[in-house]
Structure formats: structure tokens, C-alpha cells
Symmetry: C2
Subunit: 257 residues, 2 copies
DNA sequence: TCAAAAGTGTTAAACGTACACCCATGA
DNA sequence: TCATGGGTGTACGTTTAACACTTTTGA
């Protein structure tokens, strides 16, 4: 059986080349067309879903491991990725029985036991333009796709808590730091930017006040061009002033909340 | 040699009963008399200092491990403890050579090697009334004492970064949540509370505005008594309204920043 | 009686919020 | 020509920041 062989190889690889006891979990938020989604994986031969994750190689920085896992699941790199919390409760696997879930993989009991022990997991969240991503399942999962943020089912392990905390952190982050650099095209309109903010915050904002505030931070440059082809009045195009944007990131200017 | 024997036992205990690859580091801020201090340990037979830390037992929640380590170093429990970041760079031990530092312990080379490999470390910060703490060194260290926040020397590993980030996080936390519950005596004056805030923020605040704001949050109860015995006008005593205090913690009301 | 700390209130500036009108565009 | 989205400015209310005088107390 090819799958069993491959799985065995993977497990050997995990045991030898990766740090034990520590894992990484990713809350990958997808933004597109005014919708906020989360990338979930369906566990092999079950109807249970969970977050994508990864492990850290012995000679690899933890953040690099998170980026690598993100790339493996979405095909994307160069995106916004942020550590938000580390989860270390003993019972964090017992929401559904981890042992039962893992047994679906068809592993020998010894491997199962090791897998079923509690890991400390470092949570990262990412924000990607989901039209550009290519969701790819891994060897433990059958399916990988986007779920609407309002319709997340009961997930395996403590992954519902992770999503809740990640979203809370992202929203708070929005009050301290600019966002949008790797999420919007190089040139974008003010309504585009506003929609991004509204999608993340889950609430609508006043057009005029939003524009005033954004321009006030000095991270935007208005171009001469306008975006034509739309059905209505052509909006101006903007681009981020990279220098001021980076400065705002460093300084943690207070933004809209 | 009694110390070598004890050390051997400790290392065996660490190997068998604790999670590998993950450690905990504690930034314990001490508050007293308008001073902000950090608890540091001096590494065995060296003049190098570092943060206290700990490890997680197999059947122990991570947060419980942090509390336990805190108790072991200070004798205190029931205090403010908060996870702030997890550190996982490969080179986080190379600031000073970890191998050289560890060799001062007089361990056999095999143990040394294992000890010298990179751990992922979860950083917690705590805030304690330092007059009540009893700083206690562990088996790896000769000395345990408070250092003024402005006079921290170059520390082992990435511990200077940890302190910087912990302080930044603590200051931000102050804008979202009330603080003081386990730091001030049951009854305290408004100037006491203000001094706590000023010490943490490292800046002075306007007396009148501070009082207005604090009272506005409804977490304080003014008592009939005044604090007598001081050399000047007797200030009122306050106590926290536990219920509202807890509520403010949960709701993350926006506080003074 | 004086110096030092604590109690209290007012005013101006900044900021956030609410809101309305005109313009451009393709259907 | 009209419906829709986009551009712009003003006025009000709230919040924050600055600031001064009086009271109490022990030295």
C-alpha cells in the first residue's frame, strides 16, 4: 500500500528531523470580495476539520517553519504572518479524542501513542488574498478548503479557540498597524482598502471618515490615474508609500479600531 | 561531590519527566517604592546573568508550569502572570556561546550537547510586589536578585530581547486592562495607584486627570478612612471592587495609555 | 507658619462621529 | 436620464490635556 509506506517515511522523517513536543498551527485568513474565510483541512477518512499546522526542523527558525508550512498549504509566500499565542494545556487534544482521530490514519499503536501525547503548539495567523492561494491537503488530510468565518464547524482539538483568539488579535492589530501591503494589488482604490478593513472588522465604516483617517497617516500616495472600467464614477488609485508604511509598522501608530 | 550528584539527578529528572525542546522563560518585574526591577540569576561560577526559567512536566499545563517556576524563584503565588511571546530562533543561544556557559556546570559532554541544542521558549511576564518576594537561585545559578530596569547588563542568550518585549507588552496591556490587584495592599491610596502606573509606564501622569479616569472606570471604591501617619494631608483609602475589576479584565476596557 | 502632598473643577484643543451635496459613469 | 458609487467639507459632541487654588498635616 503506497500510502502506508509514504506515511511511515513521513513519520520517520518527523521523528528524526523535527523538534519533538512543539508544533505550529496556522490560522490562515483569506480575504476576497468582502468575505473573510479560514483555511481548514479535513482529517483523513473522517468528516472532522482542523487547522493546518507544521513542525520545526532542527536547524530551522520557528518563524521560518511557519512560513514553510504556510507555503506548503497555500503556495503563497511573502505574506503577512504573525505569532499570536502559544497553547499548552494538557487537555487541548481531548476535545475530540485525539487518539481516536489519529487511529484513522492506520498507524501502528506505538507511533499512535507518541503522536497522541500533548504538544505545545505555537499559533500563527496569516492574511492572504484567497484568490491567489492554492489550498493543498497534506498526508494526514483528504481535503483543504476555505470556510466562511461565520460558519466554522466544531473543529478537532482546541482549534476553535485558536481561531477566536487569532481573529481577536488580528482585529486589535488593526488598531495599531497598517494592513494591506501584501493583500491588495500594487495600485488600489480607497473603497478597496475600506472593504478590506470592513471585512476584517466585520462592521461597516463611514466612507468619508475612513478616507480622512487613512490619508492622515501618510502611508498612501494618490496617483494621477483613476480606475476605469467600473460601472460608476472612476475612483482614484493609490499605492502604499513603502517607507512610511514600514515606519508606521515600527512605530505602531494608533489606527482605526 | 554532592553538587555533581544532585545535578546528575536533576538532569535525569529533566530528561524523563519534562517535555523536550520546550522551555519557559520568566520576566519577573518587581514593583516597589516607585522602582521597576527585574529578577535575574547569575550563572554558576560566571559573572553572566540571565532570566529565570523552567520546563513543563508531561502531565502539567504550560501555564501551571510557569506559575510553578515563578513560585520556585520568588516564593509567591496568586500573582499576575501573562504569556507574551514565544522565541524560536536557531541562534537564540549564540549571543554568548551556550556551550561555553553550560560547560561551567561541569557536566559530561553528552549531557552538554543535549542541553546546548536550541529550545523553543515561551516567554511569560509577571508583576510582583518585590518586598514580598524571596529570590532563590536554582541549581544552575549562584545568585538571584533584582536589577534596576535601566541597568540590565548584557544577558545570556536572547534574554535582553525578552525583557524589552515583555516591558513593551506590559505597557500596552496597561492600556487595555486594569492592574494592581495583587500588587497593592488591600487598601491603598490614589497616589499609590498612580505611582504604580507611572513606574510601569516610565513617565509621570497628571494627578487630577489620572484620578478622574480611574474613578470613571468604576473599579475603585473609596473608603471612609484616610491613610494617617504620613507627613502631609491624609489621602483617602480605596479598594478594588473585585466584581467590576474582573469585568474590566474580561471586557478589556480601554484604559490610560 | 511653612513646605509638601492631596483634594477638587474649568477651559481649550483635539479628535471622532454624524451627516449631505455634487459629480461621473454605464446601463 | 437615472441609479449607483465616488469625491469632498462642515458642525457637533465627546474626550483628552493643560492648568491653579485651597486644604491638611507634621515638622
Amino acid at each position: 500500500m503506497e500510502y502506508q509506506k509514504e506515511l511511515k517515511r513521513l513519520i520517520f522523517d518527523l521523528k528524526t528531523n523535527y523538534l519533538p513536543s512543539v508544533s505550529i498551527d496556522l490560522v490562515i485568513f483569506g480575504f476576497h470580495d468582502g468575505q473573510l474565510k479560514v483555511l481548514l483541512l479535513r482529517w483523513k477518512t473522517t468528516d472532522k476539520w482542523c487547522l493546518p499546522g507544521g513542525r520545526i526542523r532542527h536547524e530551522e527558525n520557528m518563524e521560518a517553519a511557519a512560513y514553510r508550512s504556510l507555503r506548503e498549504r497555500t503556495g503563497l509566500s511573502e505574506i503577512f504572518l504573525q505569532q499570536f499565542h502559544t497553547f499548552g494545556d494538557v487537555d487541548r487534544y481531548t476535545h475530540f479524542s485525539r487518539h481516536d482521530t489519529l487511529s484513522k490514519l492506520g498507524l501502528p499503536e506505538e507511533d499512535l501513542k507518541e503522536f497522541a501525547s500533548r504538544d505545545v503548539s505555537v499559533g500563527y495567523y496569516a492574511l492572504v488574498e484567497f484568490a491567489g492561494a492554492t489550498p493543498t491537503p497534506d498526508l494526514f488530510t483528504d481535503e483543504c478548503c476555505w470556510w466562511d468565518i461565520d460558519q466554522i464547524p466544531l473543529l478537532l482539538f482546541d482549534h476553535n479557540d485558536m481561531i477566536t483568539l487569532a481573529l481577536k488579535t488580528l482585529r486589535r492589530q488593526l488598531s495599531y498597524q497598517p494592513i494591506g501591503y501584501n493583500l491588495l494589488p500594487d495600485k488600489f482604490t480607497m473603497p478597496d482598502l475600506q472593504q478590506l478593513y470592513e471585512t476584517i472588522l466585520g462592521q461597516s465604516l463611514d466612507r468619508r471618515n475612513f478616507q480622512k483617517r487613512m490619508l492622515g497617516y501618510g502611508i498612501l500616495e494618490r496617483l494621477e490615474e483613476r480606475k476605469t472600467g467600473g460601472a460608476h464614477k472612476a475612483p482614484y488609485l493609490y499605492r502604499f508609500n513603502k517607507e512610511n508604511y514600514e515606519k508606521a509598522l515600527r512605530d505602531e501608530i494608533l489606527f482605526v479600531g
